[in-house]
């Protein structure tokens, strides 16, 4: 079945008791067992270990990503942490793409490092650099592509091969493109992770995460860590996210089309120094972006002539776009990574990976493109 | 629908369709102290599937003129008169609790036009605790409380039920409370009835027995005595129900009635 059909129907069966067409919100802690001997015969005992509403979302996401199973988490960070704890022990080593969400960077360098796990941040756009970082104790590769916020792309298939050779698992953060545009598991990755907060929900309504595995063994390992550490998704969040998923393809198509229009518009604007969007011919990795994904997403960044001061002025004066963290929602958002999402990354590291001070990150929403262009033009006028 | 039987006014509901005696008929017989509203979740269903539905209030109950009849045999005779008055052919009888005793006696004595009979939650006899008869005569609300308390299973006592927003047990209380006089005479008629075994042996038309898993009014042993006395019963047990099967488990009950009646007394 096609993606649009599956994004609506996968994981959902009408409630047998009432016929309710949507999965009910099982806002419950516990489940009444038919008898001692039939403990768990209906599949549920306690909502940390499993909940029917959350399960419906997990089955949907597993289907969309082409995985065998999925475990949902309370946040995207919880999903990343769950994967790290499931597959890394003290003394192990992991290779992370050198541009990644600031929270991922912080988790690795400030938290997991305390438990004896070592990290190398390698340039994912250069498979040779990634291969050179492999050590005897390398157990996990985490690739974020396109990367937040630089939009640098990594070759999922190439890195998957390196990981396989090293006997390590390859995890791809697929938040930016979603399974509608990019299927890491079919490119050779072992796990695909998401902040469902972003495009999966799509409405700025919930915070959540998901881990989709290509094998049951990997998924069970993630589930075990989740049940042990408790970072679960709530039934209400799962239910809202399930509703959001139903329009994923529509939103991705519409939002990425608007992003392309805005990127092209800004590229010709006299006050703009550079625009970085994988869909532009000028994007350095345009060939890779076109090869491994069927769309370019709705995230891009640009630099205003005049550097940081000009960028700040634009963001403080812009209409329609909201100055806010998060991305992937219907509301267009504008962010200054250096002071907001990536403030925890040291300046030298930022400079090294290309998070320049004047970088203005845009998450394109679903407003009328004329209003968004008008807002950008008016704000640029004041710069 | 009002009509005259033996010169007295009688009432029956017809399930929301005009009564057409040319169609095959389903006659519903309710238990002690109850009236036509007991069968609301079944009568309308059959009426809208081309059956002539008749749910009579027994004499002295709700809309039918009194006095109440004092023996099962007298009620059977009265039913024969109703059938004769309305000139009904091809009858399926559906009976619950005391209605089953009425049905045993009616069908065995007047088998001519009966095509099938469904017995729900009953045995061959219904011996009644003297304390209950005494309560029914002197303090009907106490007798009603006892019968509701025993009559409904777990789900009923927690006010569950198949109609959204409705408490089945509270509805039962109101129906039963409507006939305090009828209740006492019904219970005495039940207690006095001794002919169940012989009547059961005399039933030759197709018959089914539907028993409830947690019935405290007609326990399993009593129900199985009825099954044993009948020639060739089709037996069903609805586990998750107390005695008040037609309102406690109406969907399961309706499906069993439908399959049985559609097969044995088909409507066009």
């Amino acid at each position: 079945m096609g993606f649009s059909t599956r994004q609506i129907h996968a994981g959902v069966t009408p409630d047998p008791l009432t016929g309710s067409i949507l999965t009910p919100i099982y806002q419950t802690t516990t489940y009444v067992q038919p008898s001692v001997d039939e403990y768990l015969s209906k599949g549920y005992s306690y909502s940390r270990s499993g909940n029917p509403t959350v399960r419906a979302l997990e089955l949907k996401l597993a289907d969309l990503e082409g995985g065998v199973d999925c475990i949902c988490f309370g946040t995207g960070m919880a999903a990343i942490q769950g994967v790290m704890l499931a597959f890394l022990n003290a003394g192990d080593h992991a290779i992370i793409s050198d541009v990644a969400y600031g929270g991922t960077y912080r988790l690795c360098t400030k938290v997991l490092s305390r438990f004896g796990i070592e990290f190398t941040f390698a340039d994912g756009s250069d498979p040779d650099a990634v291969a050179a970082a492999v050590r005897d104790n390398t157990k996990l590769f985490l690739t974020e592509t396109p990367a937040n916020p630089t939009m640098k792309c990594s070759d999922i298939a190439a890195i998957s091969k390196i990981a396989k050779k090293a006997g390590a698992i390859h995890v791809v953060d697929n938040t930016f493109l979603t399974p509608y545009f990019q299927l890491p598991l079919t490119l050779g990755a072992d796990l695909s992770i998401h902040s469902t907060t972003k495009y999966m929900d799509g409405h700025n309504a919930t915070v959540g995460g998901a881990v989709i595995s290509a094998t049951q063994e990997h998924s069970d390992a993630v589930a075990f860590i989740q049940n042990s550490t408790g970072s679960i998704m709530s039934p209400q969040v799962a239910w809202l996210t399930s509703q959001g998923c139903k329009t994923l393809s529509l939103r991705m198509d519409a939002q990425s089309a608007i992003a392309m229009t805005l990127a092209k518009h800004l590229e010709t604007h006299p006050k703009v120094e550079q625009v970085c969007y994988p869909g532009l011919e000028s994007f350095a990795q345009h060939e890779l972006a076109s090869r491994q994904a069927s769309g370019y997403g709705a995230m891009f960044w640009f630099e205003v002539k005049g550097g940081l001061a000009a960028g700040k002025k634009l963001m403080d004066n812009i209409d329609v776009f909201s100055l806010a963290e998060n991305l992937g929602s219907l509301e267009s958002l504008i962010t200054h990574p250096v002071t907001m999402t990536h403030a925890d990354v040291e300046e030298a590291e930022r400079k090294r990976v290309g998070i320049i001070d004047g970088l203005v990150r845009v998450s394109v929403g679903l407003e009328d493109v004329e209003d968004l262009i008008d807002a950008l033009d008016k704000a640029l006028e004041q710069v | 629908m009002y009509f005259d039987v033996n010169g007295k006014q009688a009432f029956a509901t017809t399930g929301g369709k005009p009564f057409d005696n040319k169609k095959p008929a389903v006659i519903f017989l309710q238990g002690s102290g109850l009236d036509h509203t007991f069968w609301g979740l079944h009568s309308r269903f059959f009426a809208f599937r081309n059956y002539a539905v008749l749910v009579p209030d027994f004499p002295g109950h709700s809309n039918s003129e009194g006095p109440a009849l004092t023996s099962i045999e007298a009620i059977a005779d009265w039913l024969a008169k109703v059938v004769e008055t309305l000139a009904v052919d091809n009858i399926s009888v559906v009976a619950h609790s005391q209605g089953c005793l009425n049905a045993l006696e009616f069908v065995s004595r007047y088998p001519g036009k009966v095509r099938s009979v469904s017995f729900i939650a009953s045995g061959l006899a219904t011996p009644v605790n003297p304390g209950l008869i005494d309560a029914a005569e002197n303090k009907p609300e106490s007798a009603i409380a006892m019968m509701l308390s025993w009559g409904f299973g777990h789900a009923g006592h927690f006010h569950q039920g198949p109609i959204p927003g409705n408490s089945m047990i509270a509805g039962g209380r109101k129906i039963m409370g409507g006939n305090p006089d009828g209740l006492a005479s019904d219970l005495k008629a039940c207690d006095a009835y001794r002919n169940g075994k012989a009547a059961a042996a005399g039933i030759t038309v197709p018959h089914q027995v539907i028993l409830a898993g947690t019935d405290r009014m007609a326990p399993r042993k009593a129900g199985m005595a009825l099954v044993g006395a009948l020639a060739n019963p089709e037996l069903h047990i609805i586990q998750e129900s107390g005695h008040m099967v037609p309102i406690e488990a109406p969907n399961e009950c309706r499906l069993l009635l439908k399959n049985f009646i559609f097969a044995n007394n088909p409507a066009s």
Binding site: P16, I25, Q27, T28, P52 | G161, P164, S167, A170
Partner: protein
């Protein structure tokens, strides 16, 4: 049918679950698929039918079931059946608000040319509905003094189809004489509907006295946390609609359902069925599943909360009665209240947690009191877990002159208090701040 009044007492040789057990369990069938202990939130519009026969039989009211959430919803149904169980009613219909409950209850049986007898002491929204809105559709109301039973009898007209009052009146807190009014409504075959919001079934089960319909704003004590708006109509199942031809909406064939005779086929839940079949379908004042779920959580602790509301009220009555800044205190549990005897009869646990009192120094002192309390929230709701307070003369009734205030039973110094669940010592300490400020104004 005969009236079954007062048949609800538990009897020897019979066992029924009691109030607190029902408040936790009634109406909920533990879901068979997973066994979830809490009531699932069926946040859905519609329901998949197994086959067309089931679909048509649900639409034709041949069987129960869910078709579309405007009419019924499994989560809302749990709340409805739980309230029916607590009230001792045969059925209940939840609505989007308490006002919607009043409206659908009235319009289920009344039409153009019909007449209501209603108490003067009612929530302003109720009064306005009957005084201003319903007359536009040909339904008129005679308002009578709730303490004068004879006035109810005297107001009866040929076209009277409903008697309506609040058990604990607003704002005077006068108690309806249920026995006296039931005698009149029985004699004239007119249903008697009571707004039982202020008492809840925990303090008084109106059906035990022969009341035929109750309505509630569940927003208030039933839900208890001030977090969701909702109402309910409860069918007592004890009114003989067929005894006269005055109620054709119940006893005559209803065309939209193939000539359904609701009274014949639904008997004790005929009134609720009419609301479901007509008002929920055509007016659509539906409660949302999420609201029902939230209100269910509140309902589970109804008796605990009511006991605490009452014990706090009792302490505050003592405190206020002995306070030198208070000119008067009004509550039916005080021997000085004109309804004290009726309160003891119908509300033996206590006559609710609304108290009104006068602040010495009149209008400005009352205002100063309100402005200088901080724990008590200054707002127009009642029945929250938090203590609420309002000065009617400067807020809800600020646009009417002193003379009209008196007619409405409101004095310029009056403060209305909805006693919450805080530690009563903190409420008293908070009031001390208010009284100090009021005293300064009174002296000035």
């Amino acid at each position: 049918m005969h009236s079954t009044r007062r048949s609800n007492r538990s009897e020897a040789m019979s066992h029924f679950y009691h109030f607190d057990t029902l408040a936790l369990h009634a109406g909920q069938t533990v879901d068979g698929e997973f066994g979830a202990r809490a009531t699932p939130i069926y946040q859905t519009t519609s329901y998949v039918f197994p086959d067309t026969d089931t679909a048509s039989s649900i639409f034709n009211l041949e069987r129960g079931g869910h078709a579309y959430s405007r009419i019924t919803n499994p989560t809302v149904a749990v709340l409805e059946q739980r309230i029916a169980a607590l009230e001792g009613g045969s059925a209940a219909v939840c609505t989007a608000s308490g006002m919607a409950a009043t409206f659908v209850a009235i319009t289920a049986i009344l039409g153009q040319g019909d007449h209501i007898i209603a108490s003067t002491q009612m929530y302003g929204g109720n009064i306005s509905l009957m005084k201003n809105t319903l007359p536009r559709f040909g339904i008129t109301t005679t308002f009578v003094d709730p303490t004068d039973v004879d006035a109810f009898a005297g107001a009866i007209q040929d076209n009277t189809r409903l008697i309506y009052g609040e058990l604990i009146g607003n704002p005077g807190l006068d108690i309806l004489d249920l026995d006296g009014i039931v005698a009149i409504s029985d004699e004239h075959h007119i249903p008697f509907m009571v707004d039982a919001t202020f008492n809840t079934p925990y303090l008084c089960k109106c059906f035990d006295y022969g009341v035929n319909i109750t309505i509630h704003s569940i927003t208030k004590w039933m839900g208890g946390h001030g977090l969701a708006i909702g109402g309910v109509v409860v069918d007592g199942g004890n009114f003989d609609w067929g005894a006269t031809d005055k109620y054709p909406t119940i006893t005559e064939p209803y065309a939209p359902f193939s000539g359904l005779n609701i009274w014949e086929e639904f008997g004790p839940s005929a009134f609720a069925t009419r609301i479901r079949a007509e008002a929920m379908r055509d007016f659509g004042a539906t409660m949302s599943p999420m609201t029902a779920f939230l209100l269910l959580q509140g309902l589970e602790t109804l008796s605990l909360r009511m006991d605490k509301h009452l014990s706090n009220t009792k302490e505050l009555l003592d405190y206020l009665s002995n306070h030198d800044s208070v000119s008067w205190v009004s509550h039916p549990d005080l021997p000085s209240h004109s309804s004290h005897k009726l309160a003891k009869k119908y509300l033996p646990k206590g006559a609710g947690s609304i108290v009104s009192f006068g602040v010495k120094g009149g209008r400005d002192a009352g205002k100063a009191f309100i402005e200088n309390v901080s724990l008590a929230s200054h707002l127009a709701n009642v029945g929250d877990a938090k203590t609420l307070i309002i000065h009617p003369a400067t807020t809800t009734h600020s646009r009417i002159d002193a003379e009209a205030l008196v007619a409405a039973g409101i004095t310029e110094d009056m403060v209305r208090l909805s006693v919450g669940l805080e530690d009563v010592k903190d409420i008293k300490a908070d009031f001390e701040d208010g009284f100090r400020a009021a005293k300064k104004i009174a002296k000035a």
